[in-house]
Symmetry: C2
Subunit: 281 residues, 2 copies
């Protein structure tokens, strides 16, 4: 596995691979890799000839009050894990390389970025779509793999790819969970033992919602209330949002119908966790 | 010359050319071609193996009160001219092909798009950077040629290309003028005979400014006033702006120094014309 830190070297390497007819599969990450990331890497490897993983804790997707500074980092461990999975290229740029000053250009997706996570994190998706655009131009992938854990992100990226005519196939892989159901996240390391125990309520409440929809419930407000009630049992939890939306426009549903996303964000102490389930009704 | 109307066909064609090792040169236009466009096409042809011209009157760079509907169009003439110049591919998409609904993604460049033309046309550059991003993803050029007539546009595109890491070389070609100095523009057809006569004052006033700077004048306000006074002689003219700015950040200069842009926009009747001169002091 080759580690590349320079944008121009990554572009030249990608260009050479493409000229040889090799298919490039790409997994963009912020590092501190867990099984979720590794499942994306395996998928990319299955679908391509050359696999590129990027590790970059992207400052533009954090608001000033968020956890950019303390976001967990462990490059040596990440490098080891990526190598073990047979990753071919690891792109690991510095902040100065990615955002030379004066930096002035942003990619924004309207409407679907103002709801769910975009409501409490109004500049987050602008940072995500901007850095993904940059990374696509640097890595020149044929396909890129994202995780369903960040359901809204995947929908926003698909919209961006369609609107801006990126010639990149977007693949979305299922959530990887701990044995007790907690979705893997680099942020889980922040949790105290009590918060960690209570965080299992995220998945439990989503499964309860799923059950009740599969048993015929079509009223979104009742399903939503069921989740909120279950989460209320956790002493360390504070709900950011619980929403049931249409996957096409992320607008809240009243009557459950079509392809729906049940999504939630909950603080356990200072740590904001997200989870979701997608259902076809 | 092949005419392509479908995005996916253009992408496949571009991808095939790149795999053969051919260098793609691109000239994006809104059609109604004149010698200015043709000079860009010749430059692209000189620098590449396959030349692509696009013709698309981009609605997102027009404000609702602007001239989108009456913007001059003549596809048959454009096709003939492009063919004569030895253009290889003409990309001519429909509005529905370029902006399928619901369309939600925009590329914005901050700061340098709020001055000069961006002041009176606040959504203009967002439309330009968005469509150029789309066209770069569709045509996959190695280089793209723009005209110095749209000086601010060229500076904004260079900033976008740098910030978003487009692997595309940007080439900017000099303004082509009528024998009496008027810069070629598709919008010149709007002018009445009197407006057309008076429009020569744009270039004359820029040349007078250049002379006085070359003769040692370093006070921007005095140079600017000289231009404004000359334009005041035209009965049909109404100044939108006359500005003398630093080419790096487009901020107004007080003392003339470094690489400077003298730029103006003037209405003749209903028709807004722009012109500029770049100088190193």
């Amino acid at each position: 596995m080759k580690i590349i830190r320079s944008i121009s070297e990554m572009q030249q390497t990608a260009e050479a691979l493409r000229r040889e007819g090799q298919r490039i599969g790409f997994v963009p990450t912020m590092g501190y890799l867990h099984e979720g990331h590794l499942s994306l890497l395996r998928k990319a490897k299955n679908l391509s000839d050359a696999t590129v993983l990027s590790i970059f804790v992207n400052p533009t997707q954090f608001a000033p009050n968020e956890d950019l500074e303390r976001y967990p980092r462990d490059f040596e461990r990440d490098e080891h894990l990526a190598r073990q999975e047979g990753c071919d290229l690891l792109f690991y740029p510095s902040e100065g390389e990615m955002y030379p000053k004066p930096y002035r250009t942003f990619v924004t997706v309207d409407e679907i970025t103002r709801v769910l996570c975009g409501k409490s994190r109004p500049t987050h998706f602008r940072g995500v779509t901007t850095v993904v655009t940059k990374l696509f131009h640097i890595v020149k992938p044929h396909l890129a793999v994202f995780g369903q854990k960040d359901a809204q992100q995947a929908i926003v990226i698909r919209q961006m790819v369609r609107d801006l005519n990126f010639d990149v196939e977007i693949v979305v892989e299922p959530i990887v969970r701990e044995p007790d159901g907690l979705a893997l996240s680099s942020r889980n390391v922040y949790l105290s033992p009590e918060e960690r125990r209570e965080a299992t309520l995220l998945y439990k409440s989503l499964m309860a919602a799923k059950d009740c929809i599969e048993n015929g419930e079509r009223d979104a407000a009742r399903v939503r209330q069921k989740i909120v009630d279950m989460l209320a049992k956790a002493k360390t939890a504070r709900v950011d949002y619980v929403e049931i939306v249409d996957t096409r426009d992320l607008k809240p549903l009243q009557e459950l119908r079509g392809e729906i996303l049940v999504a939630l964000a909950v603080y356990f102490g200072q740590t904001r966790l997200i989870d979701n389930v997608m259902l076809t009704v």
